[in-house]
Symmetry: C2
Subunit: 392 residues, 2 copies
Amino acid sequence: MPKPSWARKDVDVLGIGMTSFGKRQESLKELAVTAAREAIADAGISVAELDAIYISNFLGGMLNGQQILGSIVANELGVAGVPTMTVEGACASGGIAFRQAYVNTACDVYDTVLVIGVEKMTVRSTQEITLAINSAMDQESLECKDGLTFPGYFGLVANQYLSQYGGTREDLASVVLKNREFAVANQKAQFREPIDLDRYLQAKMISSPLGLFDCSPISDGACAVVLSSRNEQSTSNSKVRVIASSQASGPTQLKDIEDLTTLSAIKIAANLAYNQADLTPADIDVVELHDCFSITEIISIEDLGFFEKGEGIKAVREGKTKLNGIIPVNTSGGLLSKGHPIGATGLAQIYQIVSQLRGTAANQVDGARIGLAENLGGTGAYATVHIFEAGH
Amino acid sequence: MPKPSWARKDVDVLGIGMTSFGKRQESLKELAVTAAREAIADAGISVAELDAIYISNFLGGMLNGQQILGSIVANELGVAGVPTMTVEGACASGGIAFRQAYVNTACDVYDTVLVIGVEKMTVRSTQEITLAINSAMDQESLECKDGLTFPGYFGLVANQYLSQYGGTREDLASVVLKNREFAVANQKAQFREPIDLDRYLQAKMISSPLGLFDCSPISDGACAVVLSSRNEQSTSNSKVRVIASSQASGPTQLKDIEDLTTLSAIKIAANLAYNQADLTPADIDVVELHDCFSITEIISIEDLGFFEKGEGIKAVREGKTKLNGIIPVNTSGGLLSKGHPIGATGLAQIYQIVSQLRGTAANQVDGARIGLAENLGGTGAYATVHIFEAGH
């Protein structure tokens, strides 16, 4: 596979670690350190081999009164001197932090880097959390001043999509039920109780047509990844190579959005990534994408190029994103059922793709060789796409 | 001059922009965009030439309820698609964001990058701001639970330093009065009213021996820098080259600090930077460093290698860091008198060094050719060092 023109070194994911998602007793720091230690052990390296640490976290300041997580974690791990920082891009913080870590490694600034995503959300009331999450909107925008929330925004999107391309709540349910079925088999997932269509339809309406199960939950959790260009370093046979890394931004205000049914940042980032890897969507065996709401998964499978615009709803209705479908999507359970501890989410997507390419995933896709992880922030303000290849 | 082994391209600062510091009427976004537009104009480029935007901000979530500043600013500038993110490392956020931008440019990932540092602090009460700043301590540490604040911490440091090496409040005053004198001549500075020793000594005690004037203030402001490897791009004769970039971390808890009178992260980062640039402290013509408190300036001139350990207090007493001293320090007025809008500080230090090397600074150092900027975060949790050279 080719690599970006600026990459001097091939970079592999050597290790992954992850706490279960859900309501956790541990502190923000403890969650981060637990995932980090697991990833370091999985990589088969010593902590002293880490050259830098990147942290993805969104709400540590607002919900936990805790920032400077990079230095805190470096001290806790016993590598107090290494360069470290926190990267913020709302719900895309994880993908962005991973990309910075990848770029610095591929460019030979560092040999071996740890990336940790973490969030501890359940410490506050739902109202406080909703307000904190709204910091991912432009506070000076009309819609923010008028009280729009994220469920409100994606409710608008869902209405527009369904009226423009057709479809029903039962179609949205096909995303929700698929992801819940995947989560039931994933020991790290927040929601492992099976649900059926009746339960879906009877659940509380949040922002019509999006009901409770169409919305990703409030979660605690952490996930960590060790990246390295020292490709001889790992003793494992399960190295997974990063073959594309891209990032783009999109509009932050409703007034700037031409088409509510497209997330432009995803399209830009996806095209960049496919070009870097010299691949097309048809080459991808397994995908983790940012299903913050059920409608977001439908739009994302279109913007990532797996289905034509307006065909996503038909695809999920027909089961084309299930385990034995054309392109299995969110085999981890996705944000909807695995959980969405915001800073951890982008890394947890990569955790699942790496597991798939190692052949050890919950809901394993037979013979998966190439996987893609897409992470979205805000109402489309940020997107990252990473593509991975098995067997190096 | 040599460059780091990983750098493929020479990188110049093409443009700088900065709002005045102090209590400002503009919003967080407006401050950021104002500084950005000034830097882009100063660089003589069009906004469409920007490949990426890095934001340094510490308290946007906690004080302003505003995150995702990268995407918001990209949209406001009219380059909605470019990759962008916020970087957080407490008071060192600016230096860290600049370093990420520099690395990505030097490694040829991007050609031209905008870095913006911004903070809007005066919107809340002093108590709320103090609490927010305390998020730069480990919330699980004993001292944090016991109510230690940053003035409290650096008061401890000052007591230890003065008892170990000798010195008086009059010596601390020599830092404060020097920086205030510089600020009087700097139109961007927050405090431009001259003060004398009597006024210093009569001011309210904050955390003995640190009085009001020994402590950096609460400030609003923004600063922006355009970096580029397209060295032919600028029409100006005032390009300034980045010749070293380094970062290190240090302890986050009192129990892990062996010597309160040293900031280990500064020492590590400084040595890395001098090695990269193949320079010694004696080669540096002008310095901006992180005088969050007067004592921090004294310790930092030692840890940066300008004076032996314990000799810093004598050096400031004897005027060796004044404009015509051995090494002029904080000619901008420093954090103490220029102001300390946290996310903007690391960039504002670079603004002053670039101005010095262009020969256009407030308090110009005659013939300055090589300048150094040092940015500190937390109680020594992060440090960055950047070295610049004039005349490329």
